[in-house]
């Protein structure tokens, strides 16, 4: 299935993404879905729900934005992998790398 023009425009080289890049991708999504939150002090090793006001619908938003903006699918069984920024980076890195191949 084709994605709209520009949907992946800013992910020019997904195979070269680092874990820090992926953390920033997730933070950028959170900035959109939780605009009242201060993201400057987010600890990457701590569960996002323990330091930000995020609920299950917000995590579904993260899943949706990964799908729409980056073509990344996160199956429901893997939602737990999105618990923290570190776990997001570990889980998503191979998916971004696969996109570049």
């Amino acid at each position: 299935m084709g994605l709209p023009d520009g949907a992946w425009a800013f992910v020019t080289n997904p195979e070269n993404m680092t874990k820090d890049d992926i953390k920033q991708v997730v933070l950028d999504i959170i900035a959109d879905i939780a605009p009242d939150e201060d993201l400057t002090t987010v600890k990457p090793e701590v569960r996002l729900r323990d330091q930000l006001s995020l609920d299950s619908m917000d995590f579904l938003d993260i899943v949706m934005e990964l799908r729409k903006k980056h073509g990344i699918e996160v199956p429901e069984a893997d939602y737990v992998q999105l618990a923290s920024l570190d776990s997001c980076a570990n889980y998503l890195l191979p998916k971004f790398e696969a996109k570049g191949k």
């Binding site: 084709g2 006001s53 619908m57």
Partner: protein
């Protein structure tokens, strides 16, 4: 001003009544509790407070923008510019709907205007009753457009769709924002919805279901192209090179409706409760009627409209001569305006002191909010005795000529004791609401 809590222990204070509405004991001797307006919040295309709105109505200032409607290009529309972040977090705004934000803004402003001590109010005894013309079209159209960018794959359809499109959404968003745990729902009543919301609230207060009601009408309809397309293909979408002149009820060259968004929400209470807390009483609900044409989906029936007005007068214990202002529904369609004028001529014969005006000429047709906003703009007449006009009449349609029609300039009158607010809608729903100055017999 002394303000006491309205809460536990006050339920049904001063009256008990049987199922037929007649008192069996209590202080009041009338058959039903009297209902009063003690607060008001609004957003209109030309004002975000009653003061601003009223000043523009008296000054003849319309405010209609030109917006880009999806699939349809540029059209005149009434756009509100209230600050949603005044009462909502940005996340609430993102998750919710436009009409939810309108409803929250109006309700919060109404609360502030009412002087209620919100911390002390029993939130389980508060109800929210909001009239809507339609709901869900905006979000549904947005999502259809959204997935069209992804090959119509429904896995891109937002999980927020259902809470955004359930018909109680606007009222439900108010309850979540304000912590109200009493009943909430919307009243779908086409363009009679603003009146219908107020009537529903008055009835629930009379039944003792709630002690305080937030009620009125709201609309986000400018964000759905379907409404524009529907009216355009019906030959009923207003247009003019100057958007502020596009909405011109009763003018010979009127050519249709200008669609607008907006909201007006009132705080209603039983008179006894309002007096007990020392509330400022803005007006009293005197009478109402909702009936049905049962004839045509879009063409109004003046005979039924006349019956509706007459029944409202009867229930208010009034004669036509007791009404100083008739706030018309007229939307600037070719036939609809004439039908309403016919209905009014049938009722208001020999009424030299009855003035007739229209608010849509300033702000377009605010759909579910129309009736509630149009009433609001006239309420200050109880205090200042000015009657705002209907504007944009360059050449009065002879078929819309009525004694008392206030054309283009406001008029000062000796006194205003009662206002009749007409609001009619598709499928032949008619509503007439009469409010009177508090303290007038």
């Amino acid at each position: 001003m002394a303000r006491g809590p309205i809460g536990k222990g006050k339920r049904g204070a001063g009256f008990d009544f049987m199922t037929d509405g007649h008192l069996i004991e209590g202080r009041q001797m009338s058959s039903k509790p009297r209902i009063v307006i003690t607060g008001l919040g609004l957003t209109a295309p030309n004002g975000n407070s009653l003061g601003e709105f009223r000043a523009n109505l008296l000054a003849g200032k319309a405010r209609i923008a030109v917006i880009d409607v999806r699939h349809m290009g540029k059209h005149p529309a009434g756009v509100c510019d209230f600050d949603a972040t005044k009462w909502q977090k940005r996340k609430e705004i993102r998750i919710g709907t436009r009409v939810g934000s309108i409803s929250i803004f109006c309700s919060r402003e109404a609360l502030g205007n009412s002087g209620l001590d919100w911390e002390k109010v029993d939130k389980s005894r508060v109800g929210v009753y909001l009239g809507i013309t339609e709901h869900g079209n905006v979000e549904t159209e947005n999502e259809i457009h959204n997935i069209s960018q992804f090959g119509n794959d429904t896995k891109y359809w937002t999980h927020h769709h259902n809470p955004r499109t359930v018909a109680n959404n606007p009222a439900g968003e108010v309850t979540m924002n304000m912590g109200i745990t009493g009943p909430h729902y919307t009243i779908g009543a086409a363009c009679a919805a603003g009146n219908a919301g107020l009537i529903q609230a008055a009835q629930m207060l009379q039944l003792g279901e709630v002690d305080i009601a937030f009620a009125g009408g709201v609309s986000e309809s400018i964000h759905t192209f379907g409404i524009f397309a529907g009216f355009k293909n019906q030959g009923a979408l207003g247009a003019h090179e100057d958007p502020t002149k596009a909405s011109r009820p009763f003018d010979k060259n009127r050519n249709g409706i200008v669609i607008s968004e907006g909201g007006a929400i009132y705080v209603l209470e039983r008179l006894d409760d309002a007096l007990a807390r020392g509330a400022r009483i803005i007006a009293e609900i005197a009478g109402w009627c909702i009936n049905s044409d049962a004839t045509d989906a879009v063409l109004p029936n003046p005979e039924r409209q006349s019956e509706c007005v007459r029944m409202a007068l009867k229930r208010a214990g009034m004669k036509p001569q007791d009404i100083q202002i008739v706030s018309t529904h007229a939307t600037a369609t070719a036939l609809g305006d004439i039908q309403e004028c016919t209905a009014l001529r049938n009722v208001f014969t020999d009424c030299p002191d009855t003035k007739i005006n229209n608010t849509k000429s300033f702000i377009g047709h605010c759909m579910g909010a129309a009736g509630a906003l149009e009433l609001a703009g006239n309420l200050p007449s109880f205090e200042d005795n000015w009657v705002h006009p209907t504007i944009n009449i360059d050449e009065l349609d002879p078929e819309c000529a009525m004694p008392g029609l206030v054309i283009n300039q406001p008029v000062k009158v000796a006194r205003v004791d009662a206002i009749l607010n007409n609001s009619f809608g598709m499928l032949g729903i008619n509503s007439a609401l009469i409010v009177k100055k508090y303290g007038v017999a």
